[in-house]
Amino acid sequence: MVERLNFTQIEALVVDADQYSTQILGQILRGFGLSRQIVIESAEEAKRRLASAHFDLLICDAILPDAHASDLIKWMRRQPALNIKYMPIVVLTGYTQFSNVVTLRDSGANIVVRKPVSPNVLFDHIAWSARTERPFIETDNFIGPDRRFKNTGPPDGAGRRKTDMTADIGVALEPNMSQDEIDNLLKPTKVEIE
């Protein structure tokens, strides 16, 4: 069954100085049925708005007139107010340079989408954000959503988290389980309840 997404309670802050981009984005968000969207142009204005009103989603251009989006995102991720700190952030980039994308990721952006943004791409990314339980990571030099998407082990093979396992698992201490033993573990059995 196809589920529906209800955007009517979502309040978004859009930070972008490109008038065509904001017009198109505005129509897309209206088409999705967003209840409220505020469009502003600068990072400083964004900080003022975020501090004074509630938003559920921030969509911003990578390059703002007064700052790079990474500066705004870092500021947000270090705010004591949890609704700002953990707010989902979608960054829109124009002619993307890879270093720019990495900078945005490492500043704590949730998603980077290349312009021109299209309704289906934006819908899919927002839907993905909504259905993905993605923990927040807080270290000395990074606060943001978990950057480890693929289960490829820790970066460079060196674990930095408590939950990282060593690559060397050592010699087996017991014989391998037989298939029957594995099947028995998974087989539902009746139990007597007293």
Binding site: V2, E3, R4, N6, R105, P119, F136
Partner: protein, 178 residues
């Protein structure tokens, strides 16, 4: 390092989106496309204005362009990328992207002659105004590619970033919320 905290954050956006009612992906995209179409006339008028802006930037450089001026061009090209990508023909969009590749490649390789930039801007004018046949469009793009090859410039824009995986374009299924 002093430590790494892993925090399970309540997915408020997910909770709001999964409230009863709402729209399917198909409905949302269709409605958005309809609303975007309302902007077409205004945005199509803006395309030549944006091309003129780039032409003026290149013209102000004269025959030789500096690294900073190329950087400014790349900063200023975003509106045209948005317009051509949303409302332009595929050919115009391809020419604008080639222009970006060229400007970035020139910056990267320290190439300062403005001639190839001017050729790309002329191509933009041509493909925007003219009702080109497919063969003509292919020929124009091929000639621009030859210019890129001449200067050893290749498209540099990477695939969508790995950390923000492109979600599968399928409808959201029920029961994904915990």
């Amino acid at each position: 390092m002093s430590g790494c905290k892993i925090i399970r954050v309540k997915n408020i956006l997910g909770e709001l989106l999964s409230m009863p009612g709402g729209v399917s992906r198909e409905e949302a995209v269709q409605e958005a496309q309809t609303l975007i179409e309302e902007l077409r006339e205004e945005c199509e008028k803006a395309v030549p204005v944006e091309i003129t802006r780039l032409e003026q930037l290149v013209a102000s450089a004269g025959g030789q362009i500096s690294d900073a001026q190329l950087g400014e061009i790349l900063d200023q090209v975003d509106p045209l990328l948005t317009l051509s990508g949303t409302f332009g023909s595929e050919t115009l969009d391809a020419v604008v992207k080639k222009f970006c590749d060229l400007a970035f490649g020139m910056k990267d390789k320290g190439i300062s002659t403005t001639a190839p930039l001017k050729v790309h801007l002329s191509a933009m004018r041509l493909v925007f105004k003219a009702d080109l046949s497919d063969d003509d469009a292919v020929a124009i793009l091929a000639e621009l590619s030859r210019i890129h090859d001449h200067y050893g410039i290749h498209a540099h824009v990477p695939e969508p970033p790995e950390f923000a995986p492109a979600p599968a374009p399928v409808a959201v299924r029920s029961g994904y919320k915990k």
